[in-house]
């Protein structure tokens, strides 16, 4: 019935995931890193929803999972931003390279 | 088979002393030393009792036993139940080594009187080391063996690293790295054997592997495992070219520790080669004897030649140990009764002789802060008794008849001549070289004019008796070797030598 196959959605998800990953690993600004992570989560959500329709046992559960993921992602974004601001206050920088307190 | 009571007591008696020591205050030097020496005694007496009550090691079965320790795996799924038991047991060879360990531990505890600081920690580690060494020889189970093996390594590491001489840390790390590699390889072998056969019991493994016609392991795998064992124990023995850590240990560790190191710890290598290498893979061993013999000759001559150009007595003895371990190898290379027995004799004999040497070095070092030939020249004048012992130790070391070294050397050569006469003739050069370097060292120290007119007291009566005990053992074995050959014999029959 549908002319868009499952693999198309999954491919889209992979491409988005890869873009997000690339951004998360290479960007210097912490905000961008956070938002790139959001992009990766979104890609995963596409997968969940796609499987909920085209999966082996299609059901609503996939969408529910996506909802939960969105909720958690939102929480994560909020907390991440809060941490960012706290660090910024100490270091006066949003550059990831300056956050190297793991070293000592 | 019940619980191996007496063996467990032998192995773990020093642990009791260790626990007692934790209760003693750090500053009470006398108490610490007394407790330490006393806690080495039960093992000694019990092992003497064991050797006597078992009719010189003939009836030993009743003393071994096991206790279920851990089991895993599901027979229905994997077809095997993997169980590791707490198993202790001895045969003639390990019983002799057990006795040797207990004896040398007591004497080394005595020789440790020269330790100037940190007695408590020292003796605690010392007792731990003894537990490890005793356990290695009493373990009837590869996993247990490995655990004890590692205990000795850890204890020696700290003993050398903290109480050694000038380059102690480097030496300790060198010891740790080399032996760590050896242990790792050993562990791999143990795991492979365990995984494939489902048992870690030594005797069970022996019977499985000897009955194996290629179904459990293909011959190639067996050769590979045997080679891995060679490397693992060869580092410990040490086989050339893995020897440099051992030279360092000989020259940097405290004398009492070298007594144990040269006397017992190196012997674990030989013990492992004989017990596991030969015991598990007799056929593959057979095909490797030529290489083993060549390595043995290299060890023998290489050590001897290098000992010839050293100035430091400790280093001379280190290379002499390498040389003497070559005799163990050529004995094994012969792979006949005489050869194997020679190797075993050499293990025991070199343990005693090296211990005597390092006992004396400890005494020299306490008085002169040196063991170099230059500093000790003319010792016979200031310390006649000590020089006498040194001379006797030297003579024993160069294989003088009437002392244990001769019996070992003689048997090893007897064996080698039957199998590899050409190698044996080359190896005979080692006999001469041994005489040359030992005499050079001993005469260089005892003979000559004392230029440094430093007056020191000779050995006190209290210091003499450990040397006498060692000497009595050396001469006893040398004069009447049958006293331990019957004990050692039981294992040769088992190995089908």
């Amino acid at each position: 019935m549908s002319s868009v196959p499952l693999s198309a959605y999954l491919t889209l998800a992979i491409i988005l995931f890869c873009i997000g990953l690339y951004g998360a690993l290479t960007k210097k600004n912490t905000v961008i890193v956070l938002i790139a992570i959001e992009l990766m989560l979104n890609a995963v959500n596409i997968n969940l929803v796609a499987f909920s329709k085209y999966g082996m046992m299609p059901s609503i559960d996939g969408q529910i999972f996506a909802l939960f993921a969105i909720a958690v992602a939102a929480a994560e974004a909020a907390v991440g931003l809060a941490i960012l601001i706290a660090i910024y206050r100490n270091r006066k920088s949003v550059n990831v390279d300056d956050y190297n307190s793991l070293k000592n | 088979m019940g619980f191996p009571f007496i063996l467990s007591i032998i192995v773990f008696a020093p642990l009791l002393g260790l626990l007692l020591l934790t209760l003693v205050a750090k500053t009470k030097e006398k108490t610490i030393k007394t407790v330490a020496i006393l806690s080495t005694l039960p093992s000694l007496f019990l092992s003497i009792y064991l050797i006597i009550s078992s009719k010189m090691g003939v009836e030993l079965v009743s003393y071994s036993g096991k206790l279920s320790w851990m089991q895993f795996g599901n027979p229905e799924v994997f077809g095997k139940l993997y169980s590791i038991d707490y198993e202790l047991g001895v045969d003639g060879f390990s019983l002799t080594l057990l006795l040797l360990t207990a004896l040398l531990s007591t004497l080394a505890a005595f020789a440790s009187f020269q330790i100037k600081a940190g007695w408590k920690g020292y003796y605690m580690l010392f007792l731990l080391l003894e537990v490890g060494m005793l356990g290695v020889f009493a373990a009837e189970n590869l996993v247990l063996f490995f655990i004890f093996f590692e205990v000795t390594l850890v204890a020696t590491f700290f003993l050398i690293g903290k109480w050694g001489l000038y380059e102690k840390e480097r030496t300790a790390f060198s010891l740790l790295i080399y032996n760590g590699i050896g242990s790792a390889i050993l562990l791999v072998v143990i795991m492979v054997l365990f995984a494939k056969t489902g048992t870690a019991n030594i005797e069970a493994l022996m019977s499985i592997l000897s009955a194996d016609d290629g179904t459990v392991f293909s011959p190639k795998v067996k050769t590979g495992l045997l080679l891995a064992l060679f490397i693992a124990f060869g580092i410990k023995l040490p086989i050339w070219p893995f020897h440099s850590w051992m030279v360092k240990v000989h020259s940097e560790a405290p004398a009492a520790i070298v007594m144990l190191h040269a006397g017992v710890l190196l012997k674990i290598g030989a013990y492992g080669l004989i017990h596991f290498g030969l015991g598990f893979f007799p056929n593959q061993f057979q095909s490797l004897t030529l290489w083993l013999g060549i390595l043995g000759v290299i060890n023998l001559l290489y050590g001897a030649f290098l000992a010839l150009s050293q100035k430091e007595l400790r280093k001379i003895l280190a290379y002499s140990s390498i040389s003497h371990m070559g005799i163990v190898l050529i004995g094994l290379a012969a792979l006949n009764e005489a050869g194997i027995q020679g190797a075993m004799f050499q293990v025991v004999s070199h343990g005693l002789i090296a211990a005597l040497f390092f006992y004396l070095i400890g005494i020299f070092y306490e008085r002169y802060q040196s063991s170099s030939m230059d500093d000790l020249n003319g010792l016979a004048k200031t310390m006649p008794i000590a020089s006498g012992f040194l001379l006797v130790a030297g003579l024993a070391s160069l294989g003088l008849p009437g002392m244990s070294g001769f019996v070992a050397e003689f048997l090893a050569f007897l064996g080698l001549f039957q199998e590899w006469p050409v190698l044996a003739v080359i190896a005979c050069l080692g006999i001469i070289l041994t005489a040359v370097y030992i005499l050079r060292a001993v005469l260089g120290i005892t003979f000559g004019q004392q230029e440094k007119a430093k007056r020191v007291r000779d050995m006190t009566p209290l210091e003499i008796w450990p040397a006498i005990i060692l000497l009595l053992c050396i001469v006893g074995i040398g004069v009447y070797p049958d006293i331990i050959s019957s004990t050692l014999k039981s294992i040769i029959i088992g190995l089908g030598g």
Binding site: - | P241, S244, L308, L433, L439, L443
Partner: protein, 621 residues
Amino acid sequence: MMEIAWIIPLFPLFSFLVLLIFGRKWRRGQIDFAVILSLVSFICALLVLFARFTQENVKVEFIWLTIGETQLTAGFEVNQLNALMLVIVSLVSFLVHMYSKAYMEGDERITVFFSYLGLFTFAMLGLVLSPNLLQTYIFWELVGVGSFLLIGFYFYKEEAKVAAKKAFIMTRIGDVGLLIGMILLFWQVGSFEYDEIFAAISAGDLSETMATLTAILIFIGAVGKSGQFPLHSWLPDAMEGPTPVSALIHAATMVAAGVYLVAALYPLFAYSEVAMLTIAIVGGFTAIFAATIGMTQKDIKRALAYSTVSQLGYMMLALGVGGYVAGVFHLTTHAFFKALLFLAAGSVIHAVHTQDIEKMGGLWKKMKWTAPFFLIGTMAISGVPLLSGFFSKEEILVSAWVSGHYLLFTLAIVAAFFTAFYMFRLFFLVFGGEEKKEHSMVKESSNWMTVPMLVLALLAIVAGYIQTPWFGTFLGDWLTTGIAANVHGHLDGPLWVMIVATVVAFLGILLAWLMYSKKVISRDWFTSRAPYTYQLVVNKYYIDEVYQYIFVKGSRFVSQVLHFVEVYLIEGLISLVTITIRQLSMLGSKFQNGQTQLYGTVAFVGLAILIVVFALTGGGL
């Protein structure tokens, strides 16, 4: 008596232990104790010898070591040869004990000296009693140690240290030959027992080549111990030890052990012609070689030492040409007269405190006892008729003649001439001539020293009469009964052999008299004519230098090379490994820079690689 012959070596052992343990206390009593013990040991040996005249051989053994099914035994055996040796050894030992009591008086380590003497005597007696090769080897080494200890007795002297070391190592080279030969023989025959070896030989179980090989290897052991060429050079150096030691060990007993060994294993040697010839040639060459050196030595003890080497060569020659009895006979007589010579020399040295014969002279009047004794010894060794040396030497010459090795016979004659010459040279230089000023205070030695010399002098005169062409060949008949090999009790040689030997001896004496006493012939008559030859001889044919160069330098060189290998190659490889590991870890630690992005990158790249690899291999890695 013979069943308890094992007790004989135990007396000296006991003495050794007692003196070693209680050395510091009751000095004088202990020395008397040691002397008495050696006397007891001698008496027992004598009893055993007498018992052996009437009884059969005795052999007692117990298991010493078990190797699988093979059992090595230890025990003792009494036969003609070792009964005789027992007496010789214990007698000389006893006399030397007595002599040393006076000679070593005042030395603070005198008890140590006596304990070493005890050890040596024990080992030597044990060697003689051994019923098998293994036990022989054991005691063989032990006598080496006794000798080593006694040579190095003056431990503070550099020369003593070097000499002791040299003696031990050079004899050990021979010992290794013996060991190899012995082990090879064991694998051929299956036993170390003399009896079984002989049985195997007579049964023909041993191949000709194997017999030759083992025999020559065993002979190498004898070469080392008996100071035969080329392993002779330790023996003259061994004179650094106290003189009684030289008399006991390096003249009478231990150095004769090599000869004894060849004699004891005679059937084995007799089985192989090549081996016999080797022995004869080595012996003959050594005899003349050492005699030439002996003519030039200026140190009284060294001259005697070279004479010992030469005489031992004589014995070897005798055994090599089939003169079993002759060899043993010369061994016996030599033990007496050479011990006598050494003790007398010791007495002289004790009196004048020098060993240089140029500094002696005119002692005949001063030393009323020593001088005649020395003369007796000199005459005996030179082969002056009616003294013991004459008979034994004549026996050797006859054997050599009869065997048909005429070249060897000639060598022996020339050596006899040299012997007579250099011994009398020694005598004339030491006792003849003008009295030197510095010796005006010289006194005769005490009775403790003269009595042993007297005994030995008597023996040096009469010992020859146990085997003479005229009064019967008692020794030969007795020795050869029941021996496995084909040996003769006595050989009847042509009469002229005896005459030639006598003439040659007298010629030698005459020459020495003309040169050193009458001074008719200038002393440097020969040296001035052939200076290079003289230099060669006086420097002992540069043997020591050659050895020094080849073996000492050689082994040092190898040692240096291996040291190089050790330090640069092995340590280098190890540091290569450690440096690689260190560099790797430095590299690794660069990643630990605290930046989460980098950590993430590394983790992800690793994951990606894993995934790609798994995808490519299909997961079946």
